[in-house]
């Protein structure tokens, strides 16, 4: 994968705080168009905060967020979504009393609720969602909910899809299926920035990876090289 030219997403020396607590400390990462990047790190290392900074849920005190070469640091979340970001949030955060169909529509809110081909694409990836389209999202099983969350994020035809622990709460066989779907999504040309606890699985499918520790970048490189890295193996892979 080429890593030349303007990156699609670039965090440039971001310092993010929650009140007085300094979480991200001069973090710089980039994701190029069509690239699959995974973000690893222990609990509370700042992975979710990185995604929140990217989306503008929190804004960095110093540093910039660039999307498609444009500085969006001071832009609201809705603007960034409109420009082509989308997220599968941690814990899915579906709209529980709304049907699966309505949840998907909400994913394409800025496109007016989604065209037929958006639905076709999502139903193609997740045939089960088509069967369950009239069911209330809150009554789905955890795995089914994860599919809705993915489908919802894909409805808006994102250029960059952010995922926060997409395999959380899934049976082992479903984790594999989940990553197959993620690969499929990637092959359709969407750039991915995926936060994952399941480092083995993530590195086996990603192009590149970043490793965070207490809000700082401690390792970065090709996924295949990271998977062989001594420290990382000791710390996260348990081999």
């Amino acid at each position: 994968m080429s890593v030349n030219g303007t990156p699609l997403l670039q965090l440039d020396g971001c310092d993010t705080y929650y009140g007085q607590i300094h979480i991200l400390q001069g973090l710089s990462i980039e994701v190029h168009a069509g690239e699959f990047v995974c973000l690893l790190g222990g609990n509370a290392s700042g992975k979710s905060t990185t995604l929140k900074t990217t989306l503008g849920i929190v804004s960095p005190r110093r540093g910039r967020v660039l999307f498609g070469g444009e500085d969006v640091t001071r832009r609201p979340t809705s603007y960034r979504i409109q420009k082509g970001m989308a997220i599968v949030p941690e814990n899915r955060r579906l709209f529980a009393p709304m049907t699966v169909l309505e949840n998907l529509e909400m994913g394409a809110y800025l496109q007016g609720g989604g065209a037929k081909d958006d639905f076709d694409r999502v139903y193609g990836l997740f045939p089960l969602l088509y069967e369950r389209r009239a069911q209330l999202a809150g009554t789905l099983s955890g795995g089914e909910q994860q599919m809705v969350a993915m489908g919802r994020a894909l409805m808006g035809k994102p250029k960059l899809l952010l995922m926060d622990e997409p395999s959380m709460g899934l049976a082992p066989i479903l984790v594999e299926r989940q990553f197959e779907i993620i690969k499929e999504v990637h092959q359709s040309g969407v750039a991915l920035l995926v936060v994952e606890q399941n480092a083995n699985m993530a590195l086996s499918v990603a192009d590149r990876g970043y490793v965070l520790s207490t809000g700082r970048l401690v390792l970065q490189g090709k996924a295949s090289e990271l998977a062989e890295h001594e420290d990382l193996r000791k710390a996260y892979l348990g081999r």
Partner: protein, 500 residues
């Protein structure tokens, strides 16, 4: 015992697969049917049947029935109550947009109703000698209401829940203070202060449609034309809000109410959506205000006070916040009940009917029900017999609100001529016994219910009916509490769905 006699345990001798779904294939996942949460039981079936009819059919039936009401009832009072009920329905529909759909706890809602009424009065009275035609006034007031809602909604950008409630309540208070002291606002008499705008001098004009004034009263009683006007307003607002709610905006409101952060993550302009909900609600409230001011030929600050706010909230919550049909049912139930309870005779029907209904609801047709009813009736006659044998004055007190029901009840419930301290004692005892009732179960409860019911009837006839104004609200409160226990999301509200 021989081996042959020993019962064989029901264990298969080899690993067999029971009939049903195969291992690794879950029935739930395999099945394709639509599955939605519905209420079970007979009520659920009825509700399912009722929901099958489209909303516009319901609306048409309702509007026609309401429009035909004056044919059957010639009393100005009944027609006026019908008018008030529809006006409340309109108010409840507006509040439902903010609270039910937007999920924004707006305690300043009645201020917009007042604003609409005052604006109408200012634009068509001698106050400033402005007499705009109704077709101009009403749209102007609606726009003023929408703009005011937009401004008052601004704090919702940062605040939600109880914090927002307090701030909007504060705005409501400001509104009250301004209109009651508006008789020298920067040296001008704007709102007429505590006297309001009204009377012969102010000459607040009634509605004027197609070049004709709609007089407020027709040969001394309520002019039924106003019922038709408010019904028309209601139908238009209902349909309009319905379409808004079924559009993208409606669904965005629902997502916002469910999970504001997730809504933001979907790119929804959450701040804008909140202001829009405030605006819609305020515009409906202001519209309701115009017709109120026209019908009463004036506006007075005391109308727009906390009791009204609580009444409208009760309607929305009782009926089912978020459901248009629900808040309408809520408005009808609350307003009709409050009217019925004004009159002691009617209040008596409501009271005994509710008790019998509640007993049916809890015990269905069972032996226990028969025991409770039979026991209570028998106990009454025994107590009555003993009391009248002791002294005639124990049972010949005055009855409140004469009707056939009390004629029968006189032989059963005792109404002493002079109650003395027993008024307070029995009242407190009744509350105590009701609390005790919640602690016991089974036949103990049945046994305790019998004296409780008789005591309740006694307190009702002797204490509560003598103070109907307080009793109205106590009964309404009791109904509210029991409905909310039985159906926490209101009569027609959607059940909550929680992700755990």
């Amino acid at each position: 015992m021989t081996d042959a006699e020993r019962p064989t345990p029901n264990v298969p001798d080899s690993l067999t697969e029971p009939a049903g779904p195969a291992v690794g294939q879950d029935e739930w996942v395999a099945r394709h049917a639509e599955r939605r949460l519905l209420r079970g039981g007979r009520l659920g079936a009825v509700e399912e049947r009722l929901r099958a009819a489209p909303w516009w059919a319901w609306l048409t039936v309702f509007v026609c029935l309401a429009a035909l009401l004056p044919v059957g009832f010639s009393s100005g009072y009944v027609r006026r109550v019908a008018f008030d009920t529809v006006l409340y329905m309109l108010l409840a529909l507006g509040l439902n947009v903010v609270v039910g759909w937007g999920g924004l706890l707006d305690l300043g809602y009645i201020a917009f109703y007042g604003l609409g009424a005052y604006c109408y009065a200012l634009l068509s009275s001698n106050q400033f000698d402005v007499h705009l035609p109704t077709v101009a006034t009403v749209p102007i007031v609606v726009v003023v209401g929408a703009v005011a809602g937009w401004l008052i909604g601004l704090p919702s950008w940062r605040l939600s829940g109880d914090y927002l409630a307090i701030v909007t309540l504060f705005f409501f208070q400001i509104f009250i203070v301004v209109v009651t002291n508006g008789d020298h606002l920067f040296g001008h008499n704007v709102t007429g202060g505590s006297n309001g705008i009204g009377g012969v001098d102010a000459n607040v004009r009634p509605f004027n449609l197609f070049g004709h004034d709609l007089p407020v009263a027709h040969s001394g009683s309520f002019n039924v034309a106003y019922l038709y006007v408010v019904l028309a307003f209601f139908a238009v607002v209902f349909v309009l809000l319905r379409f808004v709610n079924e559009s993208r905006i409606g669904r965005a409101w629902r997502s916002l109410r469910e999970d504001p952060l997730a809504a933001e993550l979907m790119g929804m302009p959450v701040n804008w959506l909140k202001l829009l909900a405030f605006s819609f609600g305020a515009a409906v409230a202001a519209l309701s205000g115009t017709i109120f001011a026209a019908l009463n030929a004036g506006v007075f600050p005391t109308t727009f006070a906390f009791p009204l706010l609580i009444t409208v909230y009760t309607m929305v919550i009782l009926g089912g916040s978020g459901s248009q049909a629900g808040v309408i049912v809520g408005a009808i139930v609350v307003n009709v009940l409050l009217e019925l309870l004004r009159d002691a005779g009617n209040a008596r029907y409501v009271f005994y009917a509710l008790i019998v209904l509640a007993l049916f609801g809890v015990y269905r047709l069972s032996v226990r029900l028969a025991v409770v009813l039979g026991g209570t009736i028998a106990l009454g006659f025994v107590v009555h017999g003993i009391a009248s044998a002791i002294a005639k004055s124990n049972v010949d007190g005055p009855a409140n609100g004469e009707n056939w029901l009390i004629d029968g009840l006189r032989h059963w419930v005792i109404v002493p001529r002079d109650l003395g301290p027993w008024k307070q004692i029995t009242y407190v005892a009744l509350i105590g016994v009701i609390l005790l009732l919640t602690l016991v179960r089974g036949w103990w409860r049945v046994a305790l219910l019998v004296p409780t019911l008789y005591l309740a009837a006694f307190v009702w006839e002797n204490v509560m009916l003598t103070a109907p104004e307080a009793t109205r609200f106590i009964i309404l409160g009791a109904i509210l509490v029991s409905v909310m226990i039985a159906r926490p999301s209101g009569i027609l509200g959607e059940r909550r769905v929680e992700i755990v």
